[in-house]
């Protein structure tokens, strides 16, 4: 049997506002899952809290709409316990870079085989528009009515410094490229981070499809994705958002390391030890 797009869609109509950038991410992910012919019952989408985090309700796979900022550890627990399940994690810029920022660092260290998509609208949308760690200085909201007082974070540069093993940026105005990026991310063995510029049409008029278009530049073909320093150079270039795959590194995944640990733990017992044997030590 072949899965078609509609096998991945839930019967729930997305509750996003018409025009929301997140629709494009949904479309791209649904297509990618179809292309990969993932069994929806072997797939789980984990999110935090936010408009973007409502995502799991709109697919027919397993889903976990968890709590604000904790999508990554939930996903890592799931994936470590159930390496047979395709785990996809997603959320917003507030969820991922504000309250959840630390988990991003440590997920990168662990390198679980999961894809993490952040829909960055540079705003806290679900709570009706407060500035987020990625908001530009010109985003004046009710919590910063006079001016911004903080610098923006640079998610790509952070990921490179965390040695995230796959780092890419997409734009919800370019679904074709987004699909290709998500496909590569999901093909990647390890923790793949996809930063998607995904406008909110309701609460942030500073970052729109049009304004983003002016600042993005697809990464040149000759970019060496295995060179982290080259990736750094791209992000250091001012004024532009490069889109495409920025960095990619092959290294053992968390699951592989945990397998190694298991085989080291019971060298003589290929199947593992019996519980009875563990009790011996207390005698």
């Amino acid at each position: 049997m072949e899965y078609t797009l509609k096998d991945y869609k839930s019967s729930t109509k997305p509750s996003w506002c018409p025009g929301c950038g997140d629709f494009a991410v949904l479309a791209a992910l649904l297509t990618t899952m179809t292309d990969l012919q993932l069994d929806p019952d072997d797939t789980a989408i984990v999110s935090g809290i936010g408009c973007s985090s409502r995502f799991p309700f709109f697919t027919s796979t397993y889903g976990f709409h968890s709590i604000h900022g904790r999508a990554l550890p939930v996903a890592i627990g799931l994936s470590a316990a159930r390496p047979d399940i395709n785990v996809i994690t997603l959320g917003g810029d507030g969820d991922g870079f504000s309250i959840g920022g630390n988990h991003f660092i440590h997920a990168s260290r662990k390198n679980p085989d999961i894809t993490y998509i952040v829909m960055d609208n540079e705003i806290y949308a679900l709570t009706k528009g407060q500035n987020s760690p990625t908001s530009h200085d010109n985003v004046i909201t009710k919590v910063n009515p006079y001016q911004a007082v903080e610098e923006r974070v640079n998610p790509i540069m952070m990921a490179l410094s965390f040695e995230t093993s796959f780092v890419a940026r997409g734009f919800s105005g370019d679904i074709a490229q987004l699909k290709s990026i998500i496909r590569q991310a999901m093909d990647h063995k390890g923790f793949s981070f996809v930063h998607v510029l995904s406008p909110c049409v309701q609460y942030n008029d500073k970052i729109t499809f049009d304004s983003i278009k002016e600042h993005i530049k697809p990464i040149a073909d000759d970019h060496d994705v295995t060179d982290r320093m080259a990736g750094m150079k791209l992000v250091f270039e001012p004024g532009y958002y490069y889109t495409g795959v920025i960095y990619k590194q092959e290294r053992p995944t968390l699951q592989e390391k945990l397998d190694e640990v298991q085989s080291k733990a019971h060298p003589g017992h290929p199947e593992g030890q019996q519980v009875e044997e563990l009790i011996q030590q207390f005698m």
């Binding site: 027919s60 397993y62 968890s66 904790r70 550890p73 939930v74 627990g77 563990l278």
Partner: protein, 600 residues
């Protein structure tokens, strides 16, 4: 019951704790029961004084005993702060190289002055003083035949060290043993003491018992973050979990640990995390998620002195309220408190069974004293242990649909795990309909709140009933929980010897407490004391309404200790005695001491 209590004390650097540990192991392996208690300062590395008490006995004992029979002290300060624990006829062994004080003012005890430091330095090394000490301890009771086992255990303990160190330790031990058997003029009670062996048994700490039980219960995922006094659970599982193909994951903090465990359990794998107070507080939000999304989860809180960073190495039972109420909104959970090391094992099994069956977080409230001390556990018969698993998902017969949060009669809904065909659903911490759609209508919130609490109601039928100890016709009752239980049960025995009839009730599931447990206990009682190691009488406050409701005239009393130390049986007894006497004073005019009428 024949028993022997030994206490060794000295500064933290002198190996007091490890000598006690080795001795306790050897006692257990020699087929005597043993239970231990260690006390050490919470400094980074001890400059302070530590002590280690162990009680070996023919039958299982509840505590390490009231008084000590033997006290071995390596310096004067240590001896001074422990000597009052020596009963009359007790034996004090001191290092005559270090301690000049003759302790003349303490009479009625036997003092053996032994040049421990000299023996150690001359025959082995200054670092082996503790080995000389356990040699002496074994040499005091050669008839109990501990020597060979001790040598084995010393070798095991230092297996990773150089042969030189092992030899030196064995030598020191042998010299101590020799000194005791050859040089002491014995006129003490121990000289002729005998003790029956009670067959092979296990010895472990409370933390180890929890970790082992988790694996027995089917737990194959653990995530954690180090914290005193819970870290040993994580450490044991780091070593052992992979042996049974399970996973132990170190996380960046407790929030990541508990949410990873929730993720794994959502994945269908039984999961646990363990922590102590500060980490437990951090898990508060995630516990609500597990309760709302109905994800089975076991969270162990090895309680320490609080609040805040508090007293990391001291014990307290002050997290009960937090365990029951420490989440915003109304999030049903079950709270279990083991009473000792062996109970840690069996209550952990229960915790997993409840979590799986009722799809909710179960909190296991251990404490620093239980967690750290080693105690004997009777051989575990795996075939007798009942393991529960979560209800498999099914489709509705009429619609063919899978209804994840079906509002069934007992509140338990069928649960699927990723990978189960046709079971896909989206778990969420938002209020939701039976088919997992976010929903905030009044009808749905009301229905689902009731559904979630219905599970608790159902669960109470599953609990192992609270046990009683002492005569059924006692008019004085004492309720207790967790780590205070042992002291209370011994206090009941002491009371009997004093002529009081007291009955104890000790539930292991401490939230929710089913009415019937209280009903039958309260019946016939005139006063009830509730003993626990905290300041605000947390269990009492959770039960008080119902106790009153059952018997309006019941007199209720708090028996509290909140200084970071566990209750001793003597302390429980003294407080009970005081309360009883005060109560009696209300009804008598004559001198209580001389009157027996207050003894029921």
């Amino acid at each position: 019951m024949k028993n022997l209590v030994i206490r060794i004390c000295g500064t933290a650097g002198e190996g007091v704790i490890s000598s006690g540990d080795i001795f306790a192991l050897a006692v257990a392996r020699s087929e005597y029961y043993v239970t231990t208690f260690r006390s050490f300062p919470s400094e980074i590395r001890g400059h302070g004084q530590c002590s280690f008490q162990l009680r070996m006995s023919e039958e299982k004992a509840y505590t390490t005993g009231l008084m000590t029979d033997v006290l071995i002290g390596l310096n004067e300060e240590a001896i001074l702060s422990n000597i009052k624990l020596l009963g009359s006829g007790g034996i004090l062994i001191l290092d005559s190289d270090e301690v000049k004080n003759k302790f003349e003012e303490f009479s009625g005890i036997i003092k053996y002055r032994i040049p421990i430091t000299t023996i150690a330095t001359e025959k082995a090394s200054i670092r082996a003083k503790n080995m000389v000490a356990i040699g002496i301890m074994a040499g005091l009771v050669p008839q109990l035949e501990l020597k060979e086992q001790l040598k084995k255990d010393i070798k095991k303990r230092y297996a990773k060290k150089s042969q030189e160190i092992i030899d030196s330790n064995i030598k020191a031990f042998e010299e101590g043993y020799k000194y005791a058997t050859e040089n002491l003029k014995r006129e003490d009670n121990l000289a002729s003491m005998t003790m029956e062996k009670s067959g092979p048994k296990l010895i472990m700490s409370g933390n180890e018992a929890i970790a082992l039980a988790a694996i027995v219960a089917g737990c194959r995922f653990y995530a954690g973050y180090p914290i005193t006094p819970a870290t040993e659970i994580m450490e044991w599982l780091a070593l052992e979990m992979p042996k049974v193909n399970g996973t132990m994951l170190q996380c960046e903090d407790e929030i990541a640990a508990v949410t990873a465990a929730i993720g794994a359990s959502y994945g269908g794998v039984k999961s646990m995390t363990a922590t102590s107070g500060p980490g437990f507080s951090l898990m508060s939000e995630a516990l609500g998620l597990a309760s709302m999304a109905e994800i089975p989860l076991v969270v162990v809180d090895v309680q320490r002195g609080g609040p805040s960073t508090g007293l990391p190495t001291k014990t307290e039972q002050s997290d009960l309220n937090m365990a029951v109420y420490g989440t915003h909104g109304e999030a049903p959970k079950i709270v279990i408190a083991p009473m000792n090391v062996e109970d840690c094992f069996y209550q952990t099994i229960n915790a997993f069974n409840f979590a799986e069956k009722y799809q909710l977080p179960v909190i296991l409230l251990s404490d620093a004293a239980i967690g750290q001390r080693k105690e004997c556990v009777d051989k575990i018969d795996l075939s007798k242990i009942k393991i529960e698993n979560r209800l498999k998902h099914t489709r509705e017969t009429d619609t063919g649909l899978y209804v994840r949060y079906k509002n069934t009669l007992n509140g338990i809904s069928p649960i699927s795990n990723p990978g189960d065909k046709g079971g896909a659903y989206t778990a969420t911490g938002l209020e939701h309909t039976e088919i997992c759609q976010p929903c905030s209508t009044p009808e749905v919130h009301k229905m689902m709140t009731e559904k979630r609490f219905k599970k608790l109601e159902t669960a109470t039928q599953d609990f192992i009933p609270a046990k009683t100890y002492g005569p059924d016709d006692a008019k004085i009752g004492i309720i207790t929980w967790g780590g205070t239980t042992g002291a209370v049960l011994e206090a009941v025995d002491m009371a009997r010897e004093q002529g009081y009839k007291i009955q104890a009730l000790y539930p292991r599931t401490i939230y929710p407490v089913p009415n019937q447990w209280l009903n039958s206990f309260v019946e016939g009682k005139e006063m009830i004391l509730v003993a626990e190691a905290n300041y605000t009488a947390q269990l009492l406050h959770n039960l008080v309404y119902r106790l009153n409701k059952i018997n309006k005239d019941i007199k209720l009393f708090e028996v509290l200790k909140y200084n970071g130390e566990p209750f001793s049986a003597r302390e429980v007894f003294d407080k009970v005695d005081k309360v009883i006497r005060q109560q009696m004073l209300k009804y008598t005019t004559f001198e209580l001491e001389k009157d027996e009428s207050y003894k029921f």
